[in-house]
């Protein structure tokens, strides 16, 4: 298992299942021409679900071409934030721009890959049949059949399920079905991958391989990845972190910056430090004496 030490980085010598192709020069998405434009930009983003305000006036950006980790305890609003970015969440107010368009814009549907927390695949189809169908929706027409076949084979190889390609999804283990769901999101050329807890329930070897795959995708395809997790040791593998708690963003920084600023040696203890600090700040605000509880990592008070 991963220990929670700062050096728990992806192992340097690890190899992922690689398709035999790879001679082609990676084509850079057009978005890289203007590195200043973030992949996701939110201003005063608020989401209401029933009587509850799940996300409160969030301001943040997700930079392009990097892996941004979305971390926080269960129920803090990670999934709702991801659904808002993908455009499936109702009652979103404020500004939310994704790849230069308002979230949910029809042109974004081919440019975003989205994996829900529960695997959303057809249990009564084989892995290949599942992917064939979603590929036909993304890239329809008889003329695209060869390209689709190539993409499907590659996506299955990416998630290391080539030997199971003809197994029914319903007969797979939970972790394998999760990976089928991930493979669907890898079809086509998503510029933004939104992955809701993609490594839950996977063994350490697979988790490492998947994180290596995520880094490959970010580096060679120039894609932006937003990955949620409530396992803090995965935070060390991200380029940037958004720490969430109770519908608010507690911190937005690199893992290193987080550790140094809070004086903690792991992201986990940095997170706990920030949570305590936020609770403290809320308490002092209630009693009227505003403490200097904020630091440069954009810590916010819990109440407004």
């Amino acid at each position: 298992m991963m220990n929670s030490k700062p050096e728990s980085r992806p192992p340097g010598e690890a190899t992922t299942q690689a398709p035999p192709v790879g001679t082609t020069e990676p084509t850079e998405p057009s978005g890289l021409a203007e590195p200043s434009a973030p992949a996701v930009r939110a201003e005063k983003l608020t989401v209401v679900r029933g009587p509850r305000t799940v996300l409160r006036t969030l301001d943040f950006t997700v930079p392009r071409g990097q892996i941004t980790g979305l971390l926080g305890p269960s129920g803090c609003g990670k999934s709702t934030l991801m659904r808002a970015i993908v455009g499936t969440q109702d009652k979103v107010t404020g500004t939310l721009d994704v790849l230069g368009h308002p979230a949910g814009h029809p042109t974004l549907r081919t440019r975003i890959g989205y994996v829900t927390q529960a695997p959303s695949v057809y249990d009564d189809l084989t892995i290949r049949q599942n992917l064939d169908y979603f590929a036909a929706i993304l890239d329809p027409g008889r003329a695209a059949a060869d390209r689709r076949h190539e993409n499907v084979t590659r996506a299955i190889a990416d998630v290391d399920l080539t030997t199971h390609a003809d197994a029914l999804a319903g007969n797979l283990s939970g972790g394998q079905r999760n990976r089928v769901s991930l493979a669907v999101a890898l079809l086509g050329t998503p510029e933004l991958l939104v992955l809701d807890e993609p490594t839950v329930g996977l063994d350490p070897v697979l988790r490492r391989d998947l994180w290596n795959l995520f880094h490959d995708i970010a580096a060679t395809r120039g894609a932006t990845l937003l990955i949620s997790s409530h396992v803090m040791d995965e935070a060390e593998r991200c380029h940037r972190l958004l720490l969430m708690r109770e519908g608010e963003i507690l911190a937005d920084a690199t893992p290193e910056a987080l550790r140094t600023r809070t004086g903690a040696d792991t992201v986990e203890s940095a997170f706990l430090h920030l949570v305590d600090e936020a609770t403290q700040a809320a308490r002092t605000k209630e009693t009227g004496t505003q403490g200097s509880g904020t630091n440069e990592t954009r810590t916010k008070e819990t109440t407004r």
Binding site: E25, Y133, R154
Partner: protein, 279 residues
């Protein structure tokens, strides 16, 4: 081979590793039109492929109407006229009921498994999905109705004056109506239990009022008025027209148009219940 590590400032143009191959790119972004033929047929093929992995359901769908007709034939062994009337009506009612059940459960599963959310986040038109389902279950209904009609006409001596092809046409429209109702109703069912309970709620009143048990003009005037606006009444009426007339009568054409129109209308209502954004 260099493996990218999470350095604070990664260059997106990092040296290419050979591990992740660049996927084949479509030449242009695929258009997201209201109805795309290839997306519709892909959806229909997917639904049929799912069913193919479930041979028991197919067997039940195809065999039960035949068994029921067989049973009915010998229940009314002494009065073949009664069998003609009820048998013809049932040829229209079976596809409606079975397609209603199958579709409402299938769409409910699509909603609860998260695949519907995924599909609607992809460039799939709502019309593509609805039309795909209608196409798939329509195909199944053709097989079901062809077998049941063939059995009734050639082996059980169902006495049809008109063409059996017209019986088949009405059966197919009934199946589409069932598919449409199932799609629509599944939007209001939160679980399989509720979906199944919609069957008696939506189908049984129509069954009682469609003229199967008593001629519609002998009912209480209030009920007759209600039966005038229920689509199944026209499905049964159409079947009986074929039963008693050699040619296509004006009443038959009216019945067919009403059933087909209702199916189309409810399909559109069903499409309206699909939401890209949910709470």
């Amino acid at each position: 081979m260099t493996r990218p590590t999470p350095t604070p400032a990664p260059a997106p143009t990092a040296k290419s590793t050979t591990a992740a191959a660049t996927p084949a790119q479509p030449p242009a972004p695929a258009p997201t039109s209201a109805l795309s033929v290839s997306r519709t047929t892909a959806t229909a093929a997917r639904v049929l492929r799912q069913l193919r992995h479930d041979p028991r359901t197919i067997a039940l769908l195809v065999l039960i109407p035949c068994v029921m007709l067989f049973l009915l034939r010998y229940v009314f062994d002494g009065s073949p006229r009664t069998f003609d009337n009820i048998g013809a009506s049932l040829l229209g009612i079976f596809p409606l009921i079975t397609m209603f059940l199958v579709t409402s459960i299938a769409t409910l599963r699509e909603r609860t498994s998260g695949t519907l959310e995924r599909l609607l986040a992809l460039p799939l038109g709502k019309g593509d999905l609805i039309a795909g389902y209608a196409l798939a279950f329509g195909t199944l209904a053709i097989i079901q109705s062809a077998l049941a009609t063939g059995l009734a006409v050639w082996f059980l001596d169902l006495d049809v004056t008109g063409s059996p092809w017209l019986l088949l046409l009405v059966a197919l429209l009934d199946a589409l109506l069932g598919t449409a109702l199932g799609l629509f109703v599944s939007a209001f069912a939160a679980s399989e239990f509720q979906a199944v309970q919609f069957m008696p709620a939506v189908i049984f009143p129509q069954l009682l009022l469609c003229g199967l048990f008593a001629p519609r003009d002998t009912m209480h005037p209030a009920l007759e008025a209600v039966s005038d606006v229920l689509p199944m009444s026209y499905a049964v009426d159409g079947m009986n027209e074929v039963l008693t007339h050699t040619d296509m009568t004006a009443t038959f054409v009216r019945d067919v148009l009403i059933v087909g129109g209702c199916a189309l209308l409810v399909l559109c209502l069903g499409a309206a219940t699909l939401r890209r954004r949910t709470a």
